[in-house]
């Protein structure tokens, strides 16, 4: 409750919350906002109005215009919201769970197993993230789920490190010792006593990472190893806009709509998550809680 109050009081976090709610509404109402064409095999397939390369400006039938290949930009932006939520939440939630499991095992059982796990974290961390994700997506083939697997495989380590440093502290606390002394088993001790008390930093980190995962996924699409061609995805729309940034002679911004609409969508989406994540950190991170006020 206190968290919610803070979120709504601070103007920046209020803006983030409102933006996020707007995106949830757009994603939820996607079937109402757009019209499905009979030839679409899936709602995530962007409808196209012909096969011309040259983008066409906004008109009554395509309010955001059409991009390269006559894909409808409005449709792509609206359904791309769902894609963004799938990627952001899917990657972050699974990554956080995997990282938490690895981190807890690593610290709780210590010894050789823990050492090996934490060194594995080091190695995964020293691999350039974007390149790793590109290699895996290329091996698995284009597609949303392939891309998510790639992002998860190289993003769980951060949570493992975070949870480890938390647990190292908590493990030595008296209430944990007390629980152990009263005969609580390992699994129960971790699940009931340790994790609930060490999970907030992971939650904060996860909310901060949701935006950046969407950014990275769009970057993969931008670099040409993301979703299948024609899939409603902001990164793909931006990569299509890349060929049209130099307008026609006399009109340098002739194709502005190909870049501005999907660019704005991804910018606002990431901004919303960053603002909310920032506020959550201010609320939940004890180091910032009693920060001195001038």
């Amino acid at each position: 409750m206190k968290t919610l109050k803070y979120l709504l009081r601070n103007p920046l976090s209020l803006m983030g919350t409102v933006l996020l709610l707007c995106f949830i509404a757009i994603g939820g109402l996607a079937p109402v906002l757009t019209e499905r064409q009979p030839y679409q095999t899936s709602p995530y397939e962007m409808p196209r109005d012909g096969f011309w390369q040259r983008p066409q400006g906004p008109s009554a039938s395509h309010i955001f215009g059409t991009t390269q290949g006559q894909y409808d930009i409005f449709y792509g932006v609206v359904w791309g919201t769902r894609t963004a939520f799938k990627i952001g939440l899917g990657v972050v939630v699974i990554g956080a769970v995997v990282g938490t499991i690895v981190g807890s095992i690593g610290v709780f059982y210590g010894g050789l197993l823990g050492e090996v796990l934490m060194r594995a974290v080091d190695v995964f961390m020293s691999f350039p993230f974007l390149i790793a994700a590109m290699v895996i997506t290329t091996i698995l083939g284009k597609g949303l789920y392939q891309m998510m697997i790639a992002l998860i495989s190289f993003s769980w380590m951060e949570y493992a490190r975070l949870i480890r440093s938390e647990i190292v502290h908590i493990k030595e606390m008296e209430y944990v010792q007390a629980a152990r002394a009263s005969g609580v088993g390992d699994l129960r001790l971790i699940l009931r006593h340790i994790l609930p008390n060490s999970f907030f930093p992971v939650l904060v980190q996860a909310s901060m990472n949701t935006g950046s995962m969407v950014l990275t996924a769009a970057a993969l699409s931008f670099l040409g190893v993301g979703t299948e061609p024609g899939y409603a995805d902001w990164g793909q729309l931006i990569s299509m806009a890349r060929n049209w940034i130099v307008g026609t002679p006399g009109n340098p911004f002739a194709y502005w709509y190909t870049l501005v609409y999907p660019g704005l969508a991804i910018f606002l989406f990431v901004l919303a998550w960053n603002l909310v994540g920032d506020a959550l950190r201010d609320i939940l991170d004890p180091r910032f809680r009693g920060a001195p006020r001038v």
Binding site: L12, R119, A120, D122, V123, F124, S126, F127, P128, L130, I131, M134, V135, I136, T138, I139, G211, L215, A218, A219, F222, L223, G224, V225, I238, A241, R242, I245, V246, G247, P252, F253, W256, L259, G263, I266, F267, V270, L271, N274, L275, D278, F288, A291, P292, R293, V294
Partner: protein, 345 residues
């Protein structure tokens, strides 16, 4: 301290070996035929036809057990042979050496506004805590943090290249490429700016700078938030220390208190962040280089990844790991020099 440095460096080969194992395992996700196809895309067009593909798999041992293939691969790498990069059409080692100056030039140049501006903005935000300046700086940096670099870069190109025609993409103009390649121009470092200065060639210098303006601005803007945020909170913390109050009580001017007493100590955490950023920049600016068509290590790695050019991916990963370890070490040592309370053990 020396013992600490040596111990950290001794850990490096272990990381490199593990990385090699990781990349090799990734490549083993492909079947032998697929791995052969990375080098000859269509075996049916080969002299011997499909039959020949079988023979090639046999010849290069692509069907051998994992450890045998890994051993052979590692053997080559240890002898200094990183292999052939099919996507760059040259040996991996040579590609890394040739492209490093391009990326280093961009990264080092971007670090200047990034670090100086970041420290300045962070200090300003802290000294005007909760005032209008603080809020403006927070908004300015969080907008940059949320801006996808590819969108920012494309918009910058749209305005400054498409419309105004001031700053083109690429690394050099066509005429400058020819001039740099000509006999009269000596390449001392491979970095165009440094070379142009050393050769006393003002025209090339100007051209190189013109190509660097947009990528440098893009990088600074999207990275500022990380540095400003840390600088701000550490400066806030320092401003409430007793010794800062003492300095104020002594009657020192606020400027002196802020700049000489508080900021110096507040710089410590920012040093770590600057190191992390430097490592990332040196580690290849995949997106920035792609957007601005600036051929450096980032684009090399991106092409390698798209074409599953495993020797090149590994070469790049090893380079990145070395950079990470070295930069982290430099930051640690620097930290110990700046803060006498820190002992490296």
């Amino acid at each position: 301290m020396l013992a600490y440095i040596v111990r950290r460096l001794l850990f490096l080969p272990v990381v490199l070996l593990a990385l090699a194992l990781l990349v090799f395992s990734l490549s083993m996700l492909l079947t032998p035929t697929q791995r052969l196809a990375l080098y000859c895309p269509d075996p049916s067009h080969m002299k011997g036809g499909i039959e020949h593909a079988r023979a090639l798999i046999e010849l290069y041992g692509l069907d051998d057990p994992f450890y045998a293939q890994f051993g052979r691969w590692m053997g080559n790498i240890i002898r200094g042979n990183l292999g052939w990069s099919a996507s760059a059409s040259m040996p991996v080692g040579r590609a890394l050496i040739e492209l490093l100056p391009a990326t280093a030039e961009l990264a080092l140049l971007a670090l200047v506004p990034l670090v100086l501006g970041g420290i300045w903005l962070g200090t300003k935000a802290a000294t005007h805590h909760n005032g209008i300046i603080d809020h403006s700086i927070r908004v300015f940096t969080i907008l940059g943090w949320s801006f996808p670099d590819y969108v920012f870069g494309l918009i910058a190109l749209m305005v400054f290249y498409g419309w105004l025609g001031w700053f083109p993409s690429g690394r050099l103009s066509q005429w400058a490429v020819l001039e740099v390649a000509s006999g009269g121009f000596r390449a001392y470092t491979g970095m165009n700016i440094a070379d142009a200065i050393l050769n006393g060639n003002g025209r090339v210098l100007l051209d190189a700078l013109r190509h660097l303006v947009l990528p440098v601005i893009t990088l600074s803007y999207v990275w500022w938030a990380a540095l400003v945020r840390i600088m701000r909170s550490s400066m806030l913390e320092t401003l409430h220390q007793d010794y800062v109050q003492t300095a104020r009580a002594k009657g020192l001017r606020e400027r002196v208190v802020q700049n000489r007493h508080a900021r110096r100590n507040a710089l410590l955490p920012a040093t770590t962040m600057a190191g992390i950023i430097a490592a990332h920049l040196m580690g290849g600016l995949v997106i920035t280089e792609t957007v601005f068509d600036y051929y450096g290590l980032g684009q090399f790695a991106a092409r390698a990844a798209q074409n599953l050019d495993f020797p090149a991916v590994l070469g790049f990963a090893l380079y990145f790991a070395v950079i990470l370890v070295v930069v982290n070490l430099v930051v640690d040592v620097l930290y110990a020099c700046l803060d006498p309370r820190v002992r490296l053990e």
